[in-house]
């Protein structure tokens, strides 16, 4: 069984799971594991790793439209270097502070490969699920896409300072809170826009029609992309951008735009079935998390 099949099996067994975060008793909780070989390219500073690992979990809280309360992490490594550990904790603390949450520690573990498991906790009485999109709604994203894909190119090119900077994204907690009253469905774009839209399609039993010209591409992507196809690959399929992907009634777009501290862009509409871009099928392809 591959990871996606296994996740599907779990979703059937655990009705509280299967969204960006599990909902229980007015709280949302979400957990992720990241590894050096699969998630932190050579050149990733430990401060960036702490920021990004905890930020990924905070992004799931944001995707539920919840207030972020706290985060914890297990920091596992073959040995504990004081500077590295302090940098990780500083990054984890700073990303929490950026969304008014508290980093309250966690645990250490001796392990062959640097690995971080992060858990974030939020509060909401009215979580926004993936399942509420309705035909006629519009599809929006916050911010711009492709930033993490661009960072990876820069890591490969040895431009580590710029790459680290791009790798430290701002979890969209404030935007998620502001957009929650308008959104019919919401998730984060951690698997890329294309796969996210397919996931919304499945959860809401609807289709989507996207317009490629409307997709907001990060400036950094334009700098590193070799051509238009490459730009498209980085902004649609690479993922790991941790922007919000949401649906809402068209007549709420103006109010939602005013409420959100992060710009939102209309990139398509909700249809009855099928996921297309510019009239062609949009492949269900994206970042498969290691």
């Amino acid at each position: 069984m591959d990871e996606r099949a296994a996740l599907k099996l779990l979703a059937g067994k655990l009705p509280d799971a299967g969204d960006d975060a599990a909902v229980v008793d007015g709280l949302v909780i979400t957990t992720d594991m990241l590894h050096e070989t699969t998630d932190f390219p050579t050149g990733t500073e430990r401060y960036t790793a702490g920021w990004r690992a905890v930020g990924a979990s905070l992004s799931d809280v944001a995707a539920m439209g919840a207030k972020a309360v706290a985060a914890v992490a297990v920091y596992a490594d073959a040995g504990f270097d004081r500077d590295e550990l302090e940098a990780f904790v500083a990054g984890a603390s700073d990303v929490c502070e950026s969304v008014d949450a508290r980093y309250v520690g966690g645990d250490l573990d001796t392990f062959a490969e640097f690995t971080a498991t992060t858990t974030a906790l939020g509060r909401t009485d009215d979580p926004v699920l993936r399942s509420g999109a309705r035909p006629g709604d519009v599809l929006c994203v916050t911010g711009t896409l492709g930033r993490s894909g661009a960072a990876l190119r820069l890591f490969e090119d040895g431009e580590t300072e710029r790459a680290n900077d791009l790798f430290r994204f701002e979890p969209r907690v404030a935007a998620g809170r502001a957009l929650a009253p308008y959104a019919t469905a919401m998730m984060d774009s951690s698997d890329g826009l294309a796969r996210s839209v397919h996931q919304l399609s499945e959860a809401s039993d609807c289709g989507f029609s996207l317009d490629s010209d409307a997709v907001p591409v990060a400036e950094s992507v334009r700098e590193v992309a070799e051509n238009e196809d490459d730009e498209r690959a980085l902004s649609l399929f690479f993922g790991e951008d941790f922007e919000l992907v949401l649906t809402l009634p068209e007549d709420h777009v103006s109010a939602a735009r005013k409420a959100s501290p992060t710009p939102i862009f209309v990139v398509g509409t909700v249809t009855d079935s099928g996921v297309t871009m510019d009239g062609e099928p949009l492949p269900d392809r994206g970042y498969t998390h290691g």
Copy 2:
């Protein structure tokens, strides 16, 4: 820096951490990572692994005197076998149910070694910390000690059914809740009684005087121990029993005993300084978590 030194460094940086669970905003949260090679002996069923991994985090919630709300886990393995995954989830769900909490899923991760990171969440407005023990209080433990040490011997001897049975402990959430109004300090015995008492001594800036005859030894330890020294090693130093270790005023013992659904045993008294058993120094030795 070894793991204990690194934990000390973190405790200084993160004042909310350092107890069995972090306390934030009426909630307690705790996270742990367990690995096949260090935490699950050959013969450990996946159902037992799910029960035990999630149970270890629920035990930390119990040690704060909190109500258990929910738990999540990241299940990482080289591949996903349907039966193994379902068994893990069943064990995780059952241990949650045993303490009136909900297992709400988590995430999957492809990784070389079977690894589970569990996080548990609880609620309390009045957490019991490790720091409140006062000279004159008595020292108590719930249940009996040495069960996990005995299980390990049985795993080594190939008696896996019995060993799995002993490995699935009951997190002391109900006892923790019942004892919280009486306890001045509390923690769980995951590192063994000896090390736990040293940790309480440091957190509360006090000493302890223990009486070896009063230490409740699990029946299973008597079955597997080679001699008295061995019995002592298994019940005092091995750890991983997940019983509660607590202090309370002597005149509350009778009421606490009536309130607790799990038997409690008085094993010593709180003194000004030094940790002794039968008048001799008790080594700060125990299970060092891998």
